[in-house]
Structure formats: structure tokens, C-alpha cells
Amino acid sequence: MDGYEGLEGEKVLNLSRLNLDNLDLEHVGEERKRDTQQLLLVYNRFIMLPGSICHFSNLVFLDISCNRLAFICEDILRLSKLKTLVAKNNRLDEFSLPKDFGTMSLEVVNFSGNRFEEFPSEFLNLQRLQSLSLGGNRLKTIPAEIEHLTSLELLYLGGNSITSIPPELANLPYLSYLVLCDNRIQSIPPQLAQMRSLRSLSLHNNLLTYLPREILSLFQLQELSLRGNPLVVRFVKDMTYDPPSLLELAGRTVKSRNLPYKPEDLPGNLVRYLDLASKCPNPKCGGVYFDSCVRHIKFVDFCGKYRLPLMHYLCSPECSSPCSSNPQSDADSEDENSVPAHRMQKVLLG
């Protein structure tokens, strides 16, 4: 049971690989218990986080990875100075955490390689959390409440079963590293393009067929992985177009001609409907659309290296895409003003 000084002079107690299933601290002196800042319990046989752990009152770093942990007891809450908790490769799930776990001052949490099927709600209160890893679990969704983790800089969710990304993720002001590789994501919310802090985005091995064109504004992105996605490589000329409803046509007329109206003039649901108008991305077109839009895949060079299929919404097939792309690209000649109205079929999106 030798301790030694860690790299930054921190007092480390290394109890790894000792076949422990309980933490008997009889032979650990009071001073030792008080001084220890890092406790390593990696590769043992713990099924529960041992309650005696709270005797390490000044503990800052705890690694209990590679055990058989199914449950973390309330005693952990008494580790008021704990900043880093690593519990990789255990048997934890969303029912394993004590109720007030969210009151801890944790900055780094790594629960990768466990059995979480849902994002544990207790995590969402960890206001000081900077780094969170839930890689290699069984998550299907990310809750919108993730935006409460306002200090988050690193979010690792690779290797789950996530199918979509909540737009609220874009509200995290300091998120610089986002890993979503090896999931089942089919589309990226355009709000992600607002993330000026994002430096590295990992999306490889998902089910993306296109990206929203807003992604072009992430010019500060330095790492981007997209391999292993069924990105549409060849532009599909044929698109279908569902003709707009009368409601849609009326709404478009009101909006594009700026017909004045007051909330008292219309039933509430129509006022709300008119508020939903989206502008056609073509700058030469002053039009708007509601539900009826034409999807249009546009290939654009990105970071000078890719030909990414980007998704545009146009108010009608006559609108051509405004995106400033490489004029020499051969995809351009295929799509500008070239799709006749009578040949509309649905864009195949993989």
C-alpha cells in the first residue's frame, strides 16, 4: 500500500490491482487519510463504492474504473473537494447514482464503458462540469436539458445509439470538443453552426446523408471527421415537390407582400402560423415558405478539402441555390436553373 507523490506533488494512494472488494482503512493512518488527494482503485472487484471512502476528506481525484460497480452510495457526497470522478468499465446505469449527486462540485466525469441507457438526470445539475464522457454506453438520446451544463467544454458521447442531436446543445457557450462518432445520427440541427467555441467535431460512422448548409459558418473548426457516413456523393437531379396547400399559399402572399394585419384580425392559430414563415435562402428571392419546401442538395467545398452535400430549403423549384460555391465544381453545372418543374421527384436521402 505504498503512496507516492503524483506529478504535481499531489498525494496519491494507489490501491489498484489488489483484488479488493472492500476498502478496509484500518491500516491507513489518520494523517494519510487527510492528506490523500488522489485515490486509485482501478482493476479491483468493487460492486459498490465503499462508504469508507468518505474518510478521505480532501480527495480531489478518484478513479474506480474496471471494477463491477453497479451502485454509487450517498457517501460520495461527503467528498466535498472531489473534482474528478473516473469510473470507466463498470456496470453503472441511470439508477446507480445517489439523488443529490448533482450538488457535487465535479469538473471532470468519465463514465464511459458502462450501461447507461438514458442520460442520468443527476448529471444535469452539475454546474461546474467541464468534461463529460459517456462513451461506449447505450444512450439513445441526448436530453435538451444538456444546455444547463453551462461550463461544459468537452462532451464525449461516441459509441452509443444516439439518433438525433437536440438543438439546445448549441447553447453551451464553451463547448470546444464534441464527439458523436459511432452513433446512429441522421441529421445535424442547423443551430450547431452557432457554436463559435467549437474547435473539434467528430461525426464519423453515423447515418448522415447531408449536412445543413449553415455548417459553412463553422470556420473556426479545426478538426472534423465525417468518414463512414452515407453522404450523398452524386447530385440527384430528380426531386419531387408537394404543391403547397391553400393555407401555405395564403400565408406566403401575406408575408411576401407585407400585407398588414393585427393579432385581432385573425384567429390565434393563424397568427402563430404566420410567425413560422421561413425565408427562402435565395437572396434574389424575397419569398417565404411554411411547410412546403423543396429540398436541394448542394455540393460545396469546405475547409478546402471536401465536397460536402449540403441541404438547402427553397420556396419553390424555380428558386436556385444561392450558396457561394466553387464556380468550377461540376456539381454546379448540374443544378443551377436546370431542374424543370415537370420533372420533380423526391430527393433520395439515402
Binding site: 468499465n89 464503458g113 461506449g136 464525449y156 464527439v179
Partner: protein, 200 residues
């Protein structure tokens, strides 16, 4: 005909010493170097000082410059970190796992036709202490740490030394020349702000 010496380097420094001896001649016996590197049993205490990780991408940490004959580099791969598909600028490349596992996917050189992306030849997982070899006549490869829980560390030997290579886009075969940079040299972090534009 020279007998291939059977030497098992006990420490990393032993390995480096023997490599200096081997590379003092002008010809490289690939099998000899591969066996030598494989026979060194990785001891983290011996290479910890070079293993500096970056949270965003894998790092290249120079260990030894082999009297100008080779570069010995330690690469640190965080969870999910991977390289683009790349070539080796006409040099020999040996890659030994010091910790964790890496997936190596081999690709054919792209041809002019390019239907449906670059052709995958094979893929395999390299385990701790295994040593792989590649050169441009064998093909191109992508190396990745596919683990979401464990970082990986690998020891690379390149001879002759090179600091540029080509990276390839898997779906189109388009190539880009990239300058390779070091995150640290001899255990000291390099204070540069250049970024390797190795998107994939």
C-alpha cells in the same frame, strides 16, 4: 550471408541503441527491424515522459532522430482519435503498440476511375507489443483508436526521415500534401500554434 542477430532489448534505451547500430548500414532488413521492435516489451515508465496527449487529436512526440537515418516517434491517441488515409513518402514505416489497441485499415492507391470511393484492402486490430510495417508499394492506410474508453500509445520508426506526406479523401481519392508536425520533442512540448489540417 549475415546471420540475423537475435537480440531482445530489455529497455527502450536498449532498443534505441540497437536501432542505431542496425541503421548505421545503408540497407534496411525489414524483418530484422520488425522482430526487434516487436521483442521489446513495453514498459510505460520508460516512455511516459514522451507520451503527451492532446484532447482534440492524436499527437506525434519525437523520441530520437537516429543520427539522421530515422525518426523514432511516440504517437498518443485519445479515445476515438484517428488519422486520415495517408502514404509514407517512399519511406519504411514501422508501428509498434505500446499501450491499448489500434485499428489499421489498408487501402489501394486511388485510380482515375474512382467509383464508390477508395478500395479497402483489409483491416486488422493491432494489440499491445505487436509491430506492423508498411511502405508505399504495399499501399496506404488509416490508423484509428476505435476504443471509447482506452487511450492508445504507439511507437513509430520512419526511415528515411520525412516531414510531408499525402492525405486522401476516402470518398473521392483526392489527395492533399500535409506537413507533419511534432507535439513534443525529446519530452518537451513544442510551443507552436500551427495546426495540422488533417481532416478526414
Amino acid at each position: 550471408m549475415e546471420q540475423t542477430k537475435v537480440v531482445k532489448p530489455e529497455t527502450l534505451n536498449d532498443l534505441i541503441k540497437v536501432l542505431h547500430q542496425i541503421f548505421s548500414s545503408d540497407t534496411v532488413n525489414v524483418e530484422e527491424v520488425q522482430n526487434l521492435m516487436e521483442s521489446y516489451e513495453s514498459k510505460p515508465q520508460e516512455w511516459k515522459a514522451y507520451a503527451k496527449f492532446d484532447k482534440f487529436r492524436y499527437t506525434r512526440n519525437l523520441v530520437d532522430e537516429g543520427n539522421g537515418k530515422f525518426n523514432l516517434i511516440i504517437l498518443c491517441w485519445g479515445e476515438g482519435h484517428g488519422s486520415s488515409i495517408h502514404d509514407h513518402t517512399d519511406s519504411h514505416c514501422f508501428m509498434k503498440l505500446l499501450q491499448g489497441q489500434l485499428k489499421e485499415t489498408l487501402f489501394e492507391w486511388p485510380d482515375n476511375k474512382m467509383n464508390g470511393g477508395m478500395t479497402k484492402k483489409s483491416e486488422r486490430i493491432l494489440h499491445e507489443n505487436q509491430c506492423a510495417y508498411i511502405n508505399d508499394s504495399i499501399g496506404l492506410h488509416r490508423v484509428e483508436n476505435v476504443s471509447h474508453t482506452e487511450p492508445a500509445v504507439s511507437l513509430h520508426l520512419y526511415s528515411p526521415q520525412f516531414d510531408h506526406c499525402n492525405t486522401f479523401d476516402q470518398s473521392t481519392g483526392h489527395r492533399n500534401t500535409v506537413k507533419m508536425t511534432f507535439w513534443s520533442k525529446y519530452g518537451e512540448k513544442i510551443q507552436e500554434t500551427t495546426v495540422s489540417k488533417e481532416n478526414n
